[in-house]
Amino acid sequence: MQSLGFSFALIPVLRRLYPDREERSARMAEHMEYFNTQPYFASFVLGAAARREEDRATGRDPGADPAEVKKTLMAPLGALGDSFFWGAFKPLAGVVAVVALMAGAWWAPLLYLVLYNAVHIGLRATLVFAGYATGGDAVALMARYNFTRMARVCKALSLAIIGCMLGSVTAWDQGFMPFGPLPGILLGAAGLAAAMGMTVLLRAGASPVKLMLGLAALCLGLALGGII
C-alpha cells in the first residue's frame, strides 16, 4: 500500500546514514514491508522511523527496530487520522466553502484550500519532527493534541453550519436558489424537512447515488405530470 512511498521518502535519510550501497539496500528492503496508515499521520511514523534508523546506524541503540515502530503505530494513527482529518476536519472545511459558494463567493475554493492546508501542512510538518523527537511516542502526541475532542468540535461546527445553510436558503446564489411560491421562513423549513427526510432514507440504506437518480426520476415525473 504505502510501503513504496515510505521507502522513497526515507531515501535521503538512509543515504546519509548508510554510505554502503548494500547495507542501504538491506535497510530499504525492511521498509518495503506492508505499511498503511492515514497519509498525513504517516509523517509521525516517518520521523520515528528516521530516528530509529539513526539510533541503529550511529550505535546509540543498536537494537532499535524501525519496522517495529511502524507496525505498532500504523493502526492507531490510521484510526485517529481517519476520524480527525477525513471524518471531521475535511467536512468542516468543505461545508464552510460550500456555504460561501452558495452565498455567491467565487473565492470559496481558495478559502477551502487556505483553511484546509493551513492545518494540514502545518500538522504534517510538525508531526515529522514530533515523531523524530519522541522516537514514535504516540502517547506524547495524544497528550499534546486532543484529536478526539477536536474531531467532535469540528463535527458539531459542521452540523451547525449546514443548519445555517438550510436556514438561509432564500439568500442563496441564483445558481442554487430554489423557486416556489413559499415565503422565506416556510421555504427554509421545507428545505430542512426535505434534508431530514432524505437523511432518513440514507440511514435506511439508500446510497447518495441511488437517491440522486431517484430525485431525477421524481423531478421528471413532476415535470411530465405538469406539476412544475
Binding site: 539496500s25 434534508a195 437518480l213
Partner: protein
Amino acid sequence: MPTFDLHTVQQVLAAACIGGLIGLDRTALGQFMISQPVVAGPLTGWLLGDLEAGLIIGGILELLWVMDLPIGTFVPADSTVTTVAATAIASIGGGGHAELAVVGLSLLMTVLMVPVTMFADHLMRQRNRQIPELALGKTGRPTERSVTVWHLAGLIAFFLKSFLLCLGIVPAGLVVLSWFPQAPESFHHAMILFVMLLPFLGAAAMVRRLSVSNRDRMLLIGFLIGVVCVQLLRLPVLAAVPFAAAGGWLGVRSRGA
C-alpha cells in the same frame, strides 16, 4: 450526432489532462485537496471558460461526497473524475454559459458513470499492491533507483486512470447533450428542479455521517441562527456563518465535550 470539430477535440483533451493532473492529488501526490469537488469544479470551469457551471457542480458534489471516506478497503466514488467530467460536459456543451438545465443533465450523466470510476479505482489499487514486489526485483533487494522509478510509475498510472476516464466520459456526455435542445420543455424544467434539490440531498448526506440523530441539536441550532440572521435580520449569509459556528461551539461546551 454533434460535430467534434478541432476546437471541441482540443477542449476534450484539455479536460482529460485537467482530470489526470487534478486526479493525482486525490491519493498519489500531495493530497492538498485540489481534487475535492469544491476546488476541482471551479478550477475546471475556469480553465474551460465556464466558472459558474464549475462553482455549481463543485458545490453540489462536495456536499454529496465529502463524507465518502476511503477507510480500510472501501473504495469511495471518484468524486474528482465525476466533478471534472460534469464540469467539462457543461462548459463545452453549454458553450461557456451553460444553463442550469444543462448543468443538471451533466451531473446526472456523470453520476451514472460512478460505478465505472469506482471499478477503475479498484483495479488501480489491486495493481498498486504489486508495485512493491516489482521494486524489490528478483534479488529481493530494492535499489534507490528501483524504488524511485516504481514510485513515479505509480503517479503515471494514476494520471492515466483519470485521463482515460475523462476522455471516455466527456465525449459521451457531449453526444447526449447534443440531443438535449430537442428534448421536451418539461425535461428542461425537471433538470432545473433536480439541480435545485441536490443541495438538500448533499446536506442530508453530511448529516447522516456527522450525527447519529436525524434531528441533531446542532443542526437545529444552526438552522434557527440562519433563519434569524438571514431572513429576519436580513444579514448576508456569510455574516450568519460565524454566529452558527459560535452556536455549535456553545452546544459542544454545554454537552461537556
